[in-house]
Symmetry: C2
Subunit: 530 residues, 2 copies
């Protein structure tokens, strides 16, 4: 098995190529008007010393629990911006005391019993790709990271209903590989797909790659099994029900605060066979957004409908920076797409959009043009970030959703506030770009990327980022957005989550937590106050 990189994205043997590193370093220096950028090398495991575990497990659990140095390093951090800086600072102070690899629900229950008796924090760990501190141990308390990697099987496939019972620790690629021989797909492709798990997707309400239609993971959940310290909740397989508040829906988004997502029955789809796509250039982001609003309100459901502002189009090689681009695509397993594309393009044309004739392709093929360039940048982005962070560049993303009536002002104001914060804290102009990742009849989900060159050395960078992040989060909440559309709450968004969601609604969830996790061992401080 390939080893995971303990200080960055993906596998230990994977990263940006030398050519990519040269290009990124050159572009960054040019953008910030400096000759070159100093580089901090990544850490080696032996550079890090971790304290001895504060707790030990009894013999009955010894077979599934380890205090191995590398395992503790891998489970110390998620993939937020601070989580990417800390390894370069050799800061692994959040490393768990122990790491467990349960084989089944019985192991999970036994670990919970032990943790409850010993007052040890249990940190559910799927792929570890959280960008919001969702898998980071609390640090000030004995903690065990509960890695779900061994619960990684498809247990049953119901071809008739197109559903499968899948264990929570299964990663995206294995899951799709297991379904493919049956002609089925979950068709859920978050950016973290390769390094995230079904259980992680469900408890964080993951957003899929597709812009419209069913794309959020909770829409595909037919039933769940949640193991909590107070016992087990297994919901019934049903296509729909009106019997009280939907259990599946409050398990979705619980972020490990109530228990562990052991398995779920998931609704599947036939593998799409055809795709029809093009990209449309607009003079102005808001004109493009207006076209999108009409498209979705008319009932079209494009699989891809990604509006990329001119700055982001330039940065991702999707465009030359002279226009805002809409990457538009329809997919189906059989139904014809031409009329749909023609209808959507008609709307784009009315809003001044310019486009080449759409191209049909099979869904297995590579994408060309702007869509292909953008997609490549999208998949390489996590690797690029570690290159930039090593050179003192602050680079991060945040995302939200807002109704259409507020959309234009909202996007402009958020960008301006974050740009101001970068200038203020780094003393140098930065860049803030925006794209739309998901669109709805009543609003859209803008996704922002920001860059700035940190002032001082790497040790100061997290503090500077905190100022910018605070400005961004304040703007989202004050201007009526949500603190997260699909990145989740974790630790990093907990304060703003409490400003977004009514206090009494949070209190209701705390009452649920006290019932299911009376000793407060489950992911303390994530989502709800610890």
């Amino acid at each position: 098995m390939r080893q995971r990189k303990f200080w960055g994205w993906g596998f230990a043997d994977e990263g940006a190529s030398e050519a990519e590193v040269g290009m990124l370093a050159g572009l960054a220096a040019q953008r910030f008007g400096v000759d070159s950028l100093g580089v901090v090398p990544p850490p080696a495991p032996e550079e890090i010393s971790l304290g001895r575990p504060r707790v030990q497990v009894p013999a009955s659990l010894a077979g599934i629990v380890t205090a191995d140095h590398h395992a503790r390093l891998v489970h110390a951090l998620g993939r937020s911006f601070p989580d990417q800086v800390k390894p370069f600072l050799r800061d692994f102070t959040t490393a768990p005391d122990l790491v467990a690899f349960p084989r089944d629900e019985a192991d999970i229950a036994a670990l919970m019993d032990w943790a409850g008796a010993q007052d040890v924090a249990l940190i559910p760990f799927g792929g570890g790709s959280s960008v919001v501190g969702g898998v980071t141990p609390p640090g000030d308390r004995a903690a065990l990271s509960l890695d779900m990697g061994r619960l990684d099987r498809i247990r049953e496939i119901d071809r008739t209903s197109r559903a499968a019972l899948i264990e929570g620790g299964m990663f995206g690629p294995a899951l799709e590989a297991g379904l493919k021989p049956h002609g089925l797909t979950l068709r859920h492709f978050p950016q973290s797909f390769e390094f995230s798990t079904l259980g992680g997707w469900i408890v964080t309400r993951s957003g899929g790659h597709y812009a419209t239609g069913p794309t959020h993971i909770e829409e595909f959940v037919e039933a769940v099994t949640l193991v909590t310290p107070a016992g087990r909740i297994e919901t019934r397989r049903l296509p729909a029900s009106g019997a009280g508040p939907d259990t599946n829906r409050w398990v979705a988004g619980s972020e490990g605060a109530f228990g562990i997502l052991a398995s779920a029955w998931m609704r599947l789809q036939d593998i799409p066979k055809q795709r029809l796509g093009t990209s449309i250039a607009f003079d102005g982001f808001h004109r493009g957004a207006e076209a999108i609003r009409e498209i979705v309100q008319a009932g079209f459901q494009p699989a891809n409908c990604r509006l990329i502002d001119a700055g982001e189009a330039l940065a991702t090689f999707a465009g030359d920076g002279s226009a805002d681009l809409l990457v538009l695509g329809f997919e189906s397993a059989g139904a014809p797409l031409d009329a749909l594309m023609a209808g959507a393009l008609e709307i784009c044309r009315a809003h001044g959009g310019r486009f080449a004739p759409p191209k049909a392709s099979s869904t297995g093929g590579q994408r060309e043009g702007a869509a292909g360039a953008w997609r490549n940048a999208f998949l390489r982005a996590p690797y690029y970030r570690e290159v930039l962070v090593a050179r003192g560049v602050m680079v991060d993303t945040f995302e939200t959703a807002i109704t259409w009536d507020r959309f234009d002002d909202f996007v402009d104001t958020v960008k301006a506030r974050v740009r101001d914060a970068i200038l203020r804290v780094t003393g140098r102009p930065g860049q803030v770009t925006c794209r739309l990742t998901h669109v709805y009849a009543d609003g859209a989900a803008p996704y922002f990327t920001f860059y700035g060159l940190g002032r001082g050395d790497l040790a100061d960078l997290i503090g500077q980022w905190q100022v910018v992040k605070q400005a961004a989060s304040d703007a989202l909440i004050e201007l009526g957005g949500t603190i997260t559309h699909h990145h989740a709450v974790g630790r990093d968004h907990a304060a703003h989550y409490a400003r977004e969601v009514p206090g009494l609604a949070v209190a209701a969830l705390q009452a649920v937590k006290r019932r299911l996790d009376p000793k407060g061992i489950m992911n303390p401080g994530v989502l709800l106050p610890g």
Copy 2:
């Protein structure tokens, strides 16, 4: 304002016509092989004596609270089968002590404060159309029925995002009339449409008329305001969010156990302009169901997709009883429908379906043929029931949902068990028919109607019904279905709800209730144990 009928469906001046009564009585006598059926006349208000109210409100609430005899009668019962028999027995023992008509949220909060201090049960009352005992006061405890009829306005319309802020007490017809001048519709048409409210729909997770696509009321909820005894929960208007478990989703289905749905921002649609429909005859219900499964799994989303078994087709004048009928229709506000209908009919043909060419119509027009006949019977059914009940006929419906892998056996076994129960308890064969109201890629929602001629006089009928209802509910739960797809839990389904939903999930909801309703005054015994 027209007065509501206190002993049956709808307005006091509305009911089955003399011709309809004659036809129904004749058909029933024929079906059960008797010469004629005795008739119990409906009650007059002055026949009923109610005890004096056990509680009184202070002067500050006197303006919005009444102990009026007719008001107490109207709020004594919902529209379940026993609720339809009891008036003929002159049994209004569940009448509330008082009825309140709050004007705004402040009135609701004041009523809650008073009820908490006096230990009075508060029963939220929208249209009173619950068929599961959801609005029935507990009887053994002082109770105030809180009628939402004065919170009946559209407060704001956001044309850009296509959303409106609507008060919880607004009835279906007024709501649609208020949206129509803006070219908008909520497009939610449950059978109770005329006599049910937005707030009632949301807290019972109402199912709309449409068979596929967004049809459940919770999919149209953008934000809610819930007034609880512990305070107010107002969620943020958002097209989507990934911030923790979705508050809107656990308010949906709370059935008044947590608080009162004061208002909601609802997602709207453009009014559909065109419809294309036909009906398809199948030799066998399961062949029709198989065609439907293929249609929805291929991604078609027909607005109507209602499979009616041969017996129900006969009973509703939609067919001659020789074949099972699928009423199939597509609707849109602009996008072409021909290709969709052709694709769906191709699948029907492959399963042996026979059909006339589809007919296009404007959505405002009357429907013809099987669809029109069925629709008329559907809308008249509640009025017909009171005619039959007065003649000692047991007639009721129940509904559920099940995944496709179990579908065939499930429908057959449920029908057989209910038929057996009717024969056993009434000593005479009855009838059980089935239709599909909603269909999904992973399953469907079968809706059953049953008839039997009660043995003995009307006073025995509720007991006989209970035996049949118990057999039906046991079958649904034991065979893997849900106790309700869209009728809700109320009091009547509470025991089977507790068998369907895992105990720990129910316990979590009870923890929420204790936090929001610490004195246990909100609709006690509905959904959760009192």
